[in-house]
Symmetry: C2
Subunit: 688 residues, 2 copies
Amino acid sequence: MVGATAEPHHGGRHLVENLTQGYEGPIYPVNPKYSEVLGLKCYAKVSKIEGPLDLALIFVPARAVPGVLEDCVTRGLRGVIVQSGGFAEVGPEGKALQDRCLEIARKGGLKIWGPNCMGLIDTSKRYVFSFIIPEAWERSMNPGHVSLIVQSGLLSASFVATVMADKTLGLSKVCSIGNKCDVEETELLEYLLKDPATKVIALYLESFVHGRRFSELAGSADKPIVVLKGGKSPLATEAAASHTASLAGNYPLIRGVLKQAGVHQADDFFEWVDVARALEKDFYLQRPPDGKARIAVFSYSGASGIVTADHMDRHGLTLARLSSRTLERLGRLTPAWMPVKNPVDYYPAMEKHGPALAYKHAIEALLQDPQVDGIIAHLFAGFGIWSLDMKEILSGLNKPCKPVLFWLMGPEKRRESTRLALEEEGWPTFPEIHRTVKVMASLFEHGGTKRGLRKRSSLEFQIPRLLTKRLQPSDETGKKVLDEFEAKKVLKAFNLRVVKEVTTKSLEETLKAARKMGYPIVLKGVAEGQSHKSELGLVKLNLRDTDQLRSAYRKMLRVKMKPKSFLVQPMLRGDLELIAGVVRDPQFGPAVMLGLGGVRAEVYKDVAFRLAPLNRKDVFDMLSDLKGQVLLKGYRGSKPVNMENLADWLIKLGWLALKFEMIHEIDVNPLLVVGGEPVAVDASMILK
Amino acid sequence: MVGATAEPHHGGRHLVENLTQGYEGPIYPVNPKYSEVLGLKCYAKVSKIEGPLDLALIFVPARAVPGVLEDCVTRGLRGVIVQSGGFAEVGPEGKALQDRCLEIARKGGLKIWGPNCMGLIDTSKRYVFSFIIPEAWERSMNPGHVSLIVQSGLLSASFVATVMADKTLGLSKVCSIGNKCDVEETELLEYLLKDPATKVIALYLESFVHGRRFSELAGSADKPIVVLKGGKSPLATEAAASHTASLAGNYPLIRGVLKQAGVHQADDFFEWVDVARALEKDFYLQRPPDGKARIAVFSYSGASGIVTADHMDRHGLTLARLSSRTLERLGRLTPAWMPVKNPVDYYPAMEKHGPALAYKHAIEALLQDPQVDGIIAHLFAGFGIWSLDMKEILSGLNKPCKPVLFWLMGPEKRRESTRLALEEEGWPTFPEIHRTVKVMASLFEHGGTKRGLRKRSSLEFQIPRLLTKRLQPSDETGKKVLDEFEAKKVLKAFNLRVVKEVTTKSLEETLKAARKMGYPIVLKGVAEGQSHKSELGLVKLNLRDTDQLRSAYRKMLRVKMKPKSFLVQPMLRGDLELIAGVVRDPQFGPAVMLGLGGVRAEVYKDVAFRLAPLNRKDVFDMLSDLKGQVLLKGYRGSKPVNMENLADWLIKLGWLALKFEMIHEIDVNPLLVVGGEPVAVDASMILK
């Protein structure tokens, strides 16, 4: 423990104290200022220690870290956790210092965890390799099966202290990875996926170091994974710039990628662990017939049932239609004047027979209804007849059973004892309706289960010979923009449908081409490397006769970016504009994009992303991400989009970018839907 | 107290007990079964009581209520609170019973509060006219200045018990109005707006009995009002059908109306009171220059700052740019290697100087920065140096000051004492980031203050003589649909711009009109009462010559709904389709609608409503409700919409519907924007 001290309130003291209170092997404090720290012999440097060494924890000022690392290398150490701050997270100078540390470590065969982190907590072994205050865990350590990987000190200290003290969450490992200059989320995820003590993995990440590897691991994982991504918005990205030296990335893309990999997502800290602890319970999740989980809401109030339904609507859950047998069973305890329906307002039954009997009877009946996929139960932990022994009441239920989540209210003292009783028996409770609903929705998010669902596409396509030649960046600049004509040639070579077009160089050729094609036509000027043709005046739509074409041609010759050639295309009238494309994300690699085109994609941000290679399921999931998906299904009399052909487009675009690494970006905009068929009307391609 | 009993766990007992523990006037139990209840003389009927009577509380089975009411009328009583259930909320039979009660009351000059409610709690007087369990309030009554009007038993019982025990909310009156067959939210709102003990009014409503009156009261109120509307979604509306016999209404309209009236809105129960208790604090709210409140986030963590910024982005808040003076002041306590920015990660300063000094110093500095409108402070109520006396730390701050909201974490015991200390001093705390941000956004929602802001439009327009005649429903049916031609005549008479058009009756006339107008033209068939002309094949766009027009004309003669006449219009090419109109809401009266037209209005639900009469501010607020508002400002080179003329459209549509009660609906779709000018291309009008 390098940087050990006995100074009160100092991290270097906490580290030693935390070690002595759990770790059973030998502990060597290191600090040249002391000969002894908290009763342990203290060493001047790591290399002076005689015994075998597994790991060094380093908590000294940043500028002193390189020297310590060199000493560790000398001593033959294989691993260190650097908990000190003052590295890449504070700016370029810190980044340089961090790079120096990494260089020393790489040369010396040393692995660095951190810097700027709070190390590792392993609850089952009581290993606390962290400068967390000892009081925060000593009496409240709450072992369980959720492991955390976090890029944040708060989440590995005050947050963990809070959830442990509240016994909200059973924890296995807490890995605080800070600037993750060497050890990063992917290798820890890989470890935890194999760790028998871990059932659910929850990550707080601001960036993904090896995005593609992360998505592959998550996509084939048999344990639920919950991610809270920090820095989703432009505002937060601005804020993140200097924090843990993160690159926040392209969130709409990351959202799609995580969804594709079957990862659950959260927006706030407690929500994140609330989802994780519910996933830990091993509820039996049946697959609802049309994908919308059918929930029974069991309440002692009409209003709370309605508000629950409002939140369910937002989260894509639906109200179960109770079977007649269930209605009849529930009806047995209700007075004749009270109709039974879902949400079940069982207050009259509770008043008449007491809440204990009412809860037992109703939850049993609802669980046995095959048309109920899950139950949201409202409970008041209160006084008099509302002072319920829920352990006793629910003791008759067989497990594993369908999810039963409790929205629990009541004065704190009553609430806490009821909460703990329920949690101990595996019934999760939540203090607010919106959270209860969000967690229920998360349970059913990936079709109820995520074990080995994801099949990667293994489709292969013939590569036309012309492509190998065409898809080369030009030698001089290392970058090349394929113009509309060239880009569409490539797409066409893959049997993707593009608009008919003729390239011309003179007015005469142009007029001839138009006559042959038949009016109305579109005239486009092709200029070097220009993708904003419309803004430049290089696109004229709906030219109806020779006169109009002639005048459009002449005008184009007068624009700033004089076109080197022209394209003549028929004027297509589509029912719908889509936008499709590929981007090459620095962390995740090639990803396919589909959006509702024109202004909709930009203004309504109605786009979805998936990583290549895509399979058919990815394409359909992608469509269901679009708010305007109904437009593809034949809206207001228009022909539905040919889904096979649309899938073909997206799968091939992804495959192309995977196969040809020099493809940096493909943009098919618009991909016009004409009589149900997607046709590329314009396209561009960037090679690098 | 009719229905008094000494039976344990019975509402009739709780009512008597609650009265005896707070109310100081004479109490008369009524129940023919007893001669004495809990030490008080018990009467067989109300009419047997000798002394003067102010109010009867009634808690007997529903079927016995009419008899009790008749007896009350005989006794000359003026008011009753009927707390029994089994009325309109359970179905048609219950509704009939309720109607009978109302009839008896109306005839007898008796006012009914309820039925199916929990009456009234007045904390300052310790009046508890409710069957709430005595233990729920006796020792935890927490008087304050927030009054509730709720259409829910849960919110007037278990919820109130929870927030009182937690001392989260200082309450003044709790009015539980149940089925509100007679006393309803509007008159109670009016009372509470004048009540000196009430500073903030929070309502849970599933319906609005007198919507227009409610919006007028709220719009001119000088106290903040917070509404949680139950039944926003189709799913919940289905659930609400039988609950408290409510009509959930048209939520998109209600949302617009409440916004227009300066009402704050919430989605969940605790959120609702969290907003209310923050509004109670009398923070000083400065008006941010561009409407987006500039928030300083003060934290001990980078991650929590980033997640806060993500939520702020969602709620329209922005990160304050700290002044150089503030940066310099904050920098004094931070180590040289730590850059200061907003969100402020002050952990290094806290570590170096102790959190107490760091919080005091930083919050003072941030509050004094004129570019900071509010502060979100993160706090850990923990151990060792994190065991803070926040009362002491914040004691130097002058009040009223800008809002400082705390996100508070920590093990429950520490958290509770810190929370209570902060709340006592008027610093609201919240357990989650998302809530802290939502509440901050609510404080600034209506420009920071809502005192007397709203000015109703008092514009008047000349009514052209032709209209008085035209705007009459036909005599026979009481309903009349004005066809496109007729509807546009009305609009044109108000100087609203409509597409040029000629009505024709024969092919010859049609060809002549088209020739005069110039191709391309649009041909429409006008059939009786048809608003879905396109689907019927009665609209042909972009006819380019005589041949095309002739063929379109002939085709139309063969459709099912044979047109009685035709309209010839020029083919307009707009930059943007809008949809505008008026609906007459049963509760709120005439409301104006504006949407981004075509598929966008329907698929993206991008519409906004405001009640007529509209003023200019209403129109601009309405625009800012639209997700696609950027499209109106001149998107991608198109001309911006002429806002004066668009405002003219919306103000006049509202005025028309106010002036002519027979106007049931006006639908201008599309209202096409051509060169920046809104032009009605199609319209219809329903008179009743």
